[in-house]
């Protein structure tokens, strides 16, 4: 491993029932994705507060991805529908403020989609790495 190579820091919020299980399946199948991705388990994607996302960026994350069950498959019937609205509006707002839109993403990953999970994380990590360090939504105090 090169010492000074820039590695992005990616926070992935995964719902317990689909996406977290999808990530587990990716593990079971030994599907690689970058270690830059760190998963936080939430019961449902609708538990993810926009404040958590901003907090992650403040603390140094370069990308934040939220993963939930596919529409219609939510363990709690409707949680991901609320997530979809919240994130659509939040992401649009961040873009409006001039934050790179590629730094945030919402994906539906089912418990059976280990391959999709790994592919999504590979793609997202690559996209974020190409953007480089998050400069527009950073808090320098946290990078000392």
């Amino acid at each position: 491993m090169q010492v000074n190579e820039y590695r992005p820091l990616i926070v992935a919020f995964c719902c317990n029932w689909c996406s977290y299980a999808g990530a587990d399946l990716a593990g079971n199948n030994r599907l690689n994705y970058p270690a830059d991705v760190k998963i936080i388990r939430v019961p449902c994607s609708c538990r993810v507060n926009p404040m958590f996302i901003l907090r992650a960026f403040q603390r140094g994350a370069d990308g934040v991805i939220i993963c939930g069950c596919h529409p219609g498959d939510c363990h709690y019937t409707s949680g991901n529908y609320y997530t979809r609205r919240r994130m659509a509006l939040l992401f649009s707002m961040l873009d409006y403020l001039g934050i790179e839109r590629e730094r945030t993403r919402l994906e539906w990953v089912s418990a059976a989609e280990g391959a999709k999970f790994a592919a999504t994380m590979n793609d997202f990590a690559e996209t974020v790495a190409a953007l480089g360090e998050n400069k527009r939504l950073e808090d320098l105090r946290c990078k000392k």
Binding site: N16, D24, G27, A35, K38, Y76, G79, Y82, A118
Partner: protein
């Protein structure tokens, strides 16, 4: 400050192969709150669990972090271990360093680095964990079934047979529902009454079943295991317990021209009536909108002829309050109104009828005593056109009809066509269809018999217009396969009207706080895995209130719902999931945002007094979460602007601590 123990599992070489487990346990030692850290070959083994138990005692641990496989694998195991060691089981957090670390990263350095970070996040979370105790609530061992059709009947019988009391609420004077109106049933062609009425009798005679007929649910409160329901028993002006169902009153009633609902208005009944011979309960009902005695106080004949003295003109609606542990919705369906389908001339010609009307026309107890006669002139029809998908599978943009497939029409139309050809071989039968859908045991065989053995003429194409002309119905249609326009002079046209949920379902769903889809079908808790449960705990779905179904499907679902109810009622108390939403009343605005996103109706409001800064007391509306109903999704926590709503086990502060630890 917590006293946290960290236990890093090797999982043989599954973890240890790519993660330096010793380095992980060493690194986590210096995390705030950690007082003990170790690693072991198989943490989930008895020996591994003993290490945890011993450490809890030796180091007075208050929290545990296990760095191991996915929490979906062994979280329950380690929670039990913690409980066995005297700790609250919810003081355990798992860092998933196998599925999400060692198995997906190949490099030891990378794997170890990430495992440490995941461990730190788990430690950060445990630092904020609080002991959680699941709430308990008692279960009222009685079920309520709303709707007395075949779905409700089957559900009630199954629950009652298991030994639990069941009440059926039926809005009509008799149970039986739509199935009682049917003639034969596909694909076996046994008569509906022959198989339904014995079940109705079983219901009437079952010691565990009470029937509230001619009754409606007025109000529902409470929650799973503890519903409080108010049932309005409408006055039928006949004492149910005294009436013998002899029918003397019906015979003498002078008001003879009341459209008979049971025969869909194709003949008449009296102001006092028994819907049909096998009605359960078999008691008379006086229609207050038609009875002279009730309207003007003049008549009273029925009272005079009733030898039992069952007539009671002064009877009032009665309100019954009862407690239930579970509620089954079996509100059924109705054919949609044909008012918007002027092209089929339903309102212009009496000889254009719906399939349900056709059932009555062919039924021996129907208006024509089972002889197939056209309603207009009581002549035998020689050409019959069946039109499928009337109002089903419509364009979303069209302002009439439904987008969905009504599912049962293909089969009953095949049945009707076949029966006509069987009884009246001189009759030409045309069926216009978009597709013929026959999945089901013996269904396609049945349809093929109609075509191949009975010579029913199936034509792929839609009927464009029906024009009554003299005693004929001019049917204009297209044959898509032959690519030509057809003109048929029909004597009778039968429309396979789409079915829709009963109108009472929507207000009921509101009372139940159960969710519905845009078509007013009840939503199931999970479309695949929990098809007979509503997302609202303790509310179950039986029959077509959940979606179009034929009889066998309805009955299977009815029994499935009964099984779920029995599973609930056998419990003496319900133990909840302790990871549920909990509002901070001091911060709650009472704005209802949380209530609106809750899929379970777990949130209610109370007005509560709060001391104000100016030393006065003000009443404020604040949210309450019912721990027996909340499932812990957390939708409310984000809907809540002030952050008054938090989720136990996944508190905002805990998630933020994890974010912070990961991003350090």
């Amino acid at each position: 400050m917590q006293r946290i123990g960290v236990f890093v599992c090797w999982c043989g070489t599954n973890i240890a192969g790519t993660v330096d487990v010793a380095a992980v346990s060493e690194a986590l030692k210096s995390e705030p709150g950690v007082v003990f850290s170790t690693n072991y070959q198989y943490m989930c083994s008895q020996a591994g669990q003993d290490i945890i138990k011993d450490a809890v005692k030796e180091h007075n641990l208050t929290g545990i972090v296990v760095c191991s496989c996915s929490p979906r694998m062994h979280e329950a195991t380690f929670r039990k271990t913690a409980a066995a060691a005297g700790l609250n089981p919810y003081m355990v957090e798992i860092a998933n360093i196998r599925e999400q670390c060692s198995w997906v990263h190949k490099d030891m350095l990378t794997g170890t680095e990430k495992a440490i970070i995941l461990g730190k996040a788990a430690v950060a979370k445990v630092n904020l964990n609080t002991p959680l105790t699941p709430g308990e609530s008692p279960v009222t061992k009685r079920a309520l079934v709303i709707g007395g059709g075949i779905a409700g009947i089957q559900t009630a019988l199954d629950i009652a047979d298991a030994g639990f009391p069941v009440d059926i609420v039926e809005k009509n004077p008799t149970i039986g529902g739509k199935m009682a109106q049917l003639d034969k049933t596909f694909p076996t062609l046994d008569c509906a009454a022959c198989i339904l009425t014995p079940k109705m009798v079983d219901v009437a005679q079952h010691e565990n079943i009470r029937i509230f007929s001619y009754s409606e649910v007025e109000e529902i409160g409470g929650f799973v295991g503890n519903f409080d329901v108010k049932i309005k028993k409408k006055a039928r002006f006949v004492k149910e317990d005294i009436c013998t169902g002899c029918g003397a009153c019906v015979e003498k009633c002078p008001m003879k021209k009341i459209p008979n609902e049971f025969n869909l208005g194709m003949d008449n009944r009296r102001a006092v009536y028994i819907p049909f011979a096998q009605a359960v309960p078999k008691v008379a009902t006086i229609d207050p909108s038609a009875c002279n005695m009730l309207k003007s106080g003049k008549c009273g004949i029925c009272s005079k002829v009733c030898t039992a003295g069952a007539i009671d003109y002064k009877q009032k609606d009665e309100l019954i309050e009862e407690k239930y542990g579970a509620i089954v919705v079996a509100t059924g369906f109705n054919p949609i109104s044909m008012d918007k389908f002027d092209e089929f001339a339903y309102n212009q010609s009496r000889d254009v009828i719906t399939s349900l009307e056709f059932e009555r026309l062919t039924n021996a107890a129907g208006p024509t005593q089972g002889k197939l006669l056209r309603p207009s002139d009581l002549e035998h029809p020689h050409t019959i056109v069946f039109v499928q998908c009337v109002g089903s599978r419509c364009d979303a943009c069209a302002e009439k009809g439904k987008e969905y497939c009504s599912k049962i029409c293909c089969m009953y139309t095949a049945k009707h066509a076949m029966l006509v050809r069987d009884k009246y071989p001189d009759t030409e039968v045309y069926v216009f269809y978009i597709d013929v859908r026959t999945p089901g045991k013996n269904f396609d065989e049945f349809y093929r018999r109609a075509v191949e053995e009975y010579g029913v003429r199936y034509i792929k194409g839609m009927v464009g217009k029906i024009t009554p002309e003299g005693d004929k119905l001019k049917v204009q249609a297209s044959d898509l396969l032959a690519d030509k326009q057809l003109h048929i002079d029909a004597d009778l046209v039968v429309l396979a009207a789409a079915i829709e949920p009963d109108k009472t379902a929507r207000p009921l769903a509101t009372m139940l706080t159960a969710s519905m889809d845009t078509n007013d079908f009840f939503t199931e808790a999970h479309p695949k895995l929990r098809p007979v449960e509503s997302p609202t705990a303790g509310v179950f779905l039986s029959g077509t209130c959940q979606g179009p179904k034929d009889i066998p499907e309805t009955v299977s679902q009815a029994s499935a719902a009964a099984a779920k109810v029995i599973g609930l009622l056998v419990k003496d108390k319900l133990t909840g999931n302790p990871c549920i939403a909990s509002p901070n009343e001091l911060m709650c605005n009472g704005c209802s945002s949380c209530e609106r996103v809750c899929p379970y109706g777990a949130i209610t409001y109370i007005d509560k007094e709060f001391p104000q800064p100016d030393r006065t007391v003000a009443v404020r509306r604040v949210a309450q979460v019912n721990p027996a109903v909340c499932q812990g999704c957390g939708a409310c926590t984000v809907a809540c602007m002030s952050g008054a709503m938090d989720l136990r086990g996944f508190m905002s502060s805990q998630i933020i601590a994890e974010v912070d630890a990961i991003c350090k």
